[in-house]
């Protein structure tokens, strides 16, 4: 009993220590841009040359993301949570993620910075969130390619709308997806503990190398949305 108590204490202690010593990557630095469908091949070739591991094949992914939100008791800002699962790798756990408000900063900050905490979950997470009281705001499907350079992750993907009327089918409606636009979204992101701003400069240098194909820059989505 005492031993068990002891182990529990040390586990909590180590967790607290980890939180304090700033080794948990809970900040995300990222840049976004887009590229037309017709030029995606060129971008993929360039990324293959620039990024690590040229010898492996292109890594594709097909994900389904759902965004939930829950309001606090005092009708404050709703808390937004995202659940993402992989459609082509069924064995992998689903991911629950909290993304905070992005800090655009001024000219001296090369990238957008936002809080990001994620955890792998079992398949019951949607039910769990629903029971908690979250409601689903929107969902989409993302299909594209992933690259990696050092700590940076580059994703090039297309956003698809999910056809609600086909949801009841066995494929879940994922065979008839309609693209949102005629472009692919390109994201460059790094997950790091807070305080490592030097990585932002590396990201900017890398973004320069992708010009003029793609313009990776800080985009403030709050200014873009005028309405629901």
């Amino acid at each position: 009993m005492a031993m068990a108590q002891q182990t529990v204490n040390t586990a909590i202690d180590s967790l607290t220590a980890a939180l304090k010593s700033n080794i948990i990557p809970n900040q995300e630095y990222f840049l976004q841009g887009s590229i037309l469908d017709s030029s995606v091949e060129v971008l993929l070739h360039r990324l293959r040359g620039l990024c690590d591991n040229v010898d492996t094949n292109l890594e594709t992914f097909h994900d389904h993301e759902m965004c939930f939100s829950i309001r606090g008791p005092n009708n404050t800002q709703p808390l937004q949570l995202r659940v993402r699962r992989s459609l082509d790798h069924n064995g992998m756990p689903m991911q629950l993620r909290y993304i905070g408000q992005p800090e655009i900063g001024d000219k001296s900050r090369p990238t957008v910075l936002r809080n990001s905490i994620d955890i792998g979950t079992s398949n019951t997470v949607v039910e769990f969130l629903t029971e908690l009281g979250c409601r689903k705001d929107f969902e989409y499907s993302a299909k594209g390619y992933m690259f990696r350079k050092g700590r940076m992750k580059i994703t090039v993907f297309k956003v698809f709308k999910i056809d609600e009327t086909r949801k009841m089918m066995s494929s879940g409606g994922f065979d008839a997806l309609s693209p949102l636009t005629h472009s692919y979204l390109v994201e460059l992101s790094v997950l790091a503990p807070s305080g490592q701003d030097a990585i932002a400069d590396d990201m900017r240098c890398f973004a320069e190398q992708l010009r003029p194909l793609v313009q990776l820059e800080k985009i403030d989505y709050k200014r873009l949305v005028h309405g629901p």
Binding site: E139, Y140, K167, T181, H182
Partner: protein, 255 residues
């Protein structure tokens, strides 16, 4: 008149600045030639010359600008001559002049060209005067034709090169400026993705949560089975959903 004066002043300012630049670059070149003649190499030297010639060109451009009043029409009129030291003057002329007195005026304001230049002009004029009017016209016409021809050739070549370079660099826009914000808004805020399946019940707002409670039919059997099962009710007829809302709406404690 005011406007003209202002124009004149502006032009004068521009001309002065250009002339000063030219002066500095010539001075720099002299310095370079005198001190670095051991390490001076041809491209460097040519660079300096190119700089000077560029500045001369810009000066002529300013002068030939239509807004600039023809400086030919202005004469420099000395207003007064003082043999006293003038600090202001010294500052303006970078120490070259301290007094605006009568001995410097003839040198500064002379209009006769330099002896070398004058000699060259004389030679050319002499040569020109030896030629009759008709031959002169013919020669002028021939020259114009030749120069025009060369000008065309060079222009065409330049256009070709520029278009070649332009097409190689891919003039086509590879990204659409409108799509980027659209996509970012879509994945961040759900703009454009919020479904409007049944126009009756669901217009304008995301479907409320409680209908998912009864919608989670049975134990979830893995993600593909579970999620469509949960999304199933939304594809059903709206009437069923409506009753659900009524039933569970007040009960939910988290709202």
């Amino acid at each position: 008149m005011q406007r003209e004066e202002k124009q004149q002043d502006a032009v004068l300012e521009a001309v002065i600045s250009r002339v000063n630049d030219l002066k500095t670059s010539i001075g720099a070149m002299i310095f370079k030639v005198e001190n670095e003649y051991e390490t001076l190499n041809w491209p460097n030297f040519l660079d300096n010359f190119a700089l000077i010639s560029g500045q001369l060109t810009s000066l002529t451009k300013i002068l030939s600008n239509e807004k600039a009043p023809a400086l030919r029409n202005f004469t420099v009129l000395p207003l007064m001559l003082k043999p006293d030291l003038d600090e202001n003057l010294a500052r303006v002329t970078e120490g070259r002049l301290t007094t605006f007195s009568h001995d410097i005026v003839p040198d500064y304001l002379r209009t006769k060209p330099e002896p070398d230049a004058e000699l060259k002009m004389m030679q050319l004029e002499h040569k020109a005067n030896c030629v009759t009017y008709e031959t002169a016209q013919k020669q002028v016409a021939a020259m114009n034709k030749v120069v025009g021809h060369v000008w065309d050739l060079v222009n065409k070549a330049r256009e070709e090169w520029e278009s070649e370079a332009g097409s190689r660099s891919g003039a086509a826009q590879t990204f659409s400026l409108t799509d980027t914000p659209l996509l970012v808004a879509a994945i961040s805020m759900g703009k454009g993705l919020k479904h409007t399946v049944a126009p009756g019940a669901m217009m304008g707002g995301p479907p409320p949560g409680p209908q998912r409670g009864p919608g989670a039919l049975g134990p979830p059997q893995g993600p593909p089975g579970g999620i469509p099962g949960q999304m199933g009710p939304m594809g059903k007829a709206p009437s069923a959903i409506k009753t659900n809302i009524k039933a569970a709406g007040q009960m939910h404690p988290y709202r």
